[in-house]
Amino acid sequence: MIPTLFGVAVLVFLLLRVAPGDIVELKYAGTGAFVSKEAMDQERAQLGLDKPLWRQFGDWMWGIARFDFGDSMWTGRPITYEIAIRLQLSLQLAIMATIVAVLLSIPLGTIAALRQDTWVDYVVRVFSIAGLAMPSFWLGILMILGMLIFFRWLPPMFFTPIWVDPWANLSQLIWPALAVGYRYSAVATRMTRSAVLEVLREDYIRTARAKGLWERLILTRHALKNAMLPVVTVIGLEFAFLIGGLVVTEQVFNLNGIGMLFVEAITRRDYTMTQALVLLVSFTFIVVNFVMDLVYAWLDPRIRYQ
């Protein structure tokens, strides 16, 4: 994990510095204000941008070693604070979207496999292909317009934690969760269908049927568990992507999430924030991969790790 994160850190640090423009320029020139060169140079010095690159990198690495990610160059507030505020929403949205995806994809994929080449299978396949074709942000826009036009109602525009007001929280997040979860489920549904079909053709399933076991028992005890390996992979990777990857969906629903923060940090050339977010997302992918490895081992006892 450490070498991976270090490699990511070096790459993101260098790539950001290569991009033209800096935060001070964007902050002041971006509003057309007359700010003297001295004032801008002073601001750069305060942000440490006048130091040599190796020094900037060294300071940053030293901070990370002490779990100090520094302050946002744009707001001056601690990065951990800025991220923590938004991580709540992004995490909850990711979990809700995953729940929607799992609740949709596994039953639908299984039914489609069991009823292969029947109208049930076709309906499920159309449903999943539509999900793949439909961008979640576009679906989100349709949802918002539909709610506005037909019900003259909009979800709340700012986040309330679920423990403060569950109704307000769910009123806001259920819609993006459905929009994102539908698209997410489309991928997992097709994967589930393929995996179950493959497993149902295995010899041990034929043997189980020959022994007279109930079909439901065969499915739940023997088939599904074996079919879940690739499905778990897809679900895991999609979950990791949801942390910080839902930029447009967050814009459409005005969600104060990690994705929005990411885009703002990059367009503002907020180096410290961008670097921290890239590390966060990388760390998330690494953790999710690790969790998936553990799940593999649980699902398939033949898999053992040294």
Partner: protein, 540 residues
């Protein structure tokens, strides 16, 4: 005895009189009551960006001003009902010495900070010391505009004196800047950067909560020094970055107003869907789009080529067309049309590029290009910001106009970082540029056109000592007529004689909002009139 009963029959005059009396007694008071400010309610409004820091002296974005201005007072302010008239905010009155070098302000008494402490002249002095003479490590975005200030004194608790090095035509307007929040001296002494992350003002609203990226909440200051204000119990600024959800929020009533401005299409959409529930206020805006020309690159170092580029643009027809699809509308010179410094149309049309006969102008443009040796179909690039409104529309319009004089221009929209980097480095041929200010003040609008080594806003890469001199003179001219004469002289040199860079059009500010939002009047700047002290909400 017979009782004579009074009857109106046969007395038509009396009937009319009685009807009039009933009308006056009922309708007019009802109408007056309907417009009487009502206390109470929370105003929810949308803001299209989030504030970087909380320090008004340091920041330059409306994203800071809109949520934070209600927490603060300034020394002077623009009268929102009578822009550009200036009135006192914490200052009650002021005098100016005959030589124009000493401005003496008397403070109102009894103004309290939100922590209960009294505001004195010492706080105003400390505030302006921070703005004009910022200590090491403290950023002051508008420091350069106060070069005329020699020192600020507070001889007693209620008097502040500004001593100038030279007379200034713009000092009072500068002191009415909405960015010049009055801070507490005791706090500044301990930590001059405290206000970057904290709030302590004397404004009509106190600070309640800020969730970064989400919303900002303020509540009524019961000790506000203007009695009876504010009317609102509080406000909530909701940060909605994208335009579509921002419009949806207004449409759905989750935000009652957005103080920056919308496009004509959005205005029409809101009017269509909300009908009489929405009211639209419009005003010319102190913002404009400019074509910056790299005067160091051939053939743009030739004044004939630059002039041709300006002559090719039919601004009058452009205004009619672009105002349908974007916020571009007023045609004007270096000063905002409609302002006290604006060039009258009769004079404006004499300047290159501003004549109404576009065919004659284009003919002249072709002649100049030919004379300068620029061939038909000459190709170059126009860089631009990759922002739809109004940059994209202006870029496309300008390219179309240049095509009509035989020029072949490629549009290169860029993300903000590379765009500003290229402008600053001179890595462009022509570019769309812009400017936005908080007031009609030549010191602000004209700084863009002085020599590049004197103005960081001049990206056109030229030096002109004549312009520098005129700019300095107009800034020190206290006689309005003389000042206007100098402004005209500068405008003629910039737009007509040299065409170093030129405006395309000025912006039009369009604010559709729920009609129940009362007491807020649009001004030519989205930086002004944002303290919300006069705003009230009519019942739903």
């Amino acid at each position: 005895m017979m009782v004579k009963r009074f009857s109106l029959r046969g007395r038509p005059g009396a009937v009319v009189s009685v009807c009039m009396i009933v009308l006056v007694a009922t309708v007019i008071p009802a109408a007056m009551a309907a417009e009487q400010p009502k206390a109470g309610g929370t105003l929810d409004f949308a803001v299209g960006e989030t504030p970087p820091s909380y320090d008004g002296h340091r920041e330059t974005t409306f994203a800071m001003l809109h949520p934070l201005a209600p927490h603060y007072s300034t020394l002077l302010r623009f009268d929102p009902e009578n822009y550009p008239k200036i009135e006192g905010d914490v200052a009650e009155s002021w005098t100016v010495s005959k030589d124009g070098l000493t401005y003496t302000f008397k403070m109102r008494k009894g103004i309290k900070f939100h922590d209960g402490s009294l505001l004195t002249a010492r706080d105003v002095k400390a505030t302006y010391d921070k703005i004009v003479f910022p200590p090491e490590g403290v950023a002051s975005a508008r420091k350069a505009y106060y070069a005329m200030v020699e020192k600020v004194e507070a001889p007693d608790e209620s008097t502040v004196v500004f001593r100038l090095k030279w007379p200034s035509a713009s000092l009072l307007a500068q002191l009415a800047s909405p960015w010049n929040f009055i801070y507490k001296a005791d706090i500044l002494v301990k930590d001059p950067r405290w206000y970057e992350k904290n709030i302590m003002g004397t404004g009509p609203f106190t600070f309640v909560e800020y969730i970064p990226g989400s919303h900002w909440v303020g509540k009524k200051n019961p000790d506000y020094f203007v009695k009876g204000r504010p009317y609102l119990d509080g406000y909530r600024a909701v940060f909605i970055r994208d335009t579509a959800p921002r419009v949806a929020a207004i449409r759905g009533g989750q935000a009652l107003i957005e103080f920056r401005g919308f496009s004509p299409a959005t205005r029409d959409d809101l009017v269509r869907t909300l009908g009489d529930k929405v009211r639209v206020q419009e005003s010319p805006w102190i913002c404009n789009m400019t074509v910056a020309i790299n005067n160091e690159k051939k053939p743009f170092d030739d004044v004939r080529v630059r002039k041709a580029l300006s002559l090719a643009i039919d601004r009058w027809e452009g205004s009619k067309a672009l105002s349908q699809i974007s916020i571009m509308k007023p045609v004007g010179g270096l000063m905002r049309p409609g302002s006290e410094f604006a060039t009258p149309e009769a004079e404006l049309t004499k300047l290159a590029g501003f004549a109404k006969d576009s065919e004659a102008s284009r003919k002249e443009a072709r002649r100049l290009l030919k004379e300068a040796g620029v061939p038909e179909g000459f190709a170059f690039t126009l860089k631009n910001r990759n922002i739809k409104e109004p940059y994209e529309a202006v870029g496309i319009f300008v390219i179309d106009q240049w095509r009509k004089v035989g020029l072949n221009v490629t549009h290169l929209p860029q993300e903000g970082g590379p765009y500003f980097a290229d402008l600053r480095a001179g890595n462009y041929e022509t570019s769309i540029d812009f400017a936005c200010d908080f007031m009609d003040e030549p010191d602000y609008q004209l700084i863009k056109f002085v020599s590049g080594d004197k103005s960081p806003l001049n990206y056109a890469r030229y030096k002109d000592a004549v312009l520098d001199e005129i700019y300095e003179k107009q800034g020190r001219a206290t006689d309005p007529k003389e000042r206007l004469r100098l402004i005209r002289q500068m405008e003629k040199r910039v737009l007509d004689e040299q065409a170093y860079q030129f405006h395309v059009l000025w912006w039009q500010r369009i604010i559709p909002h729920w009609a129940r939002v009362k007491g807020w009047k649009i001004t030519p700047s989205h930086y002004l009139n944002q303290d919300l002290r006069d705003v009230w909400l009519a019942p739903e």
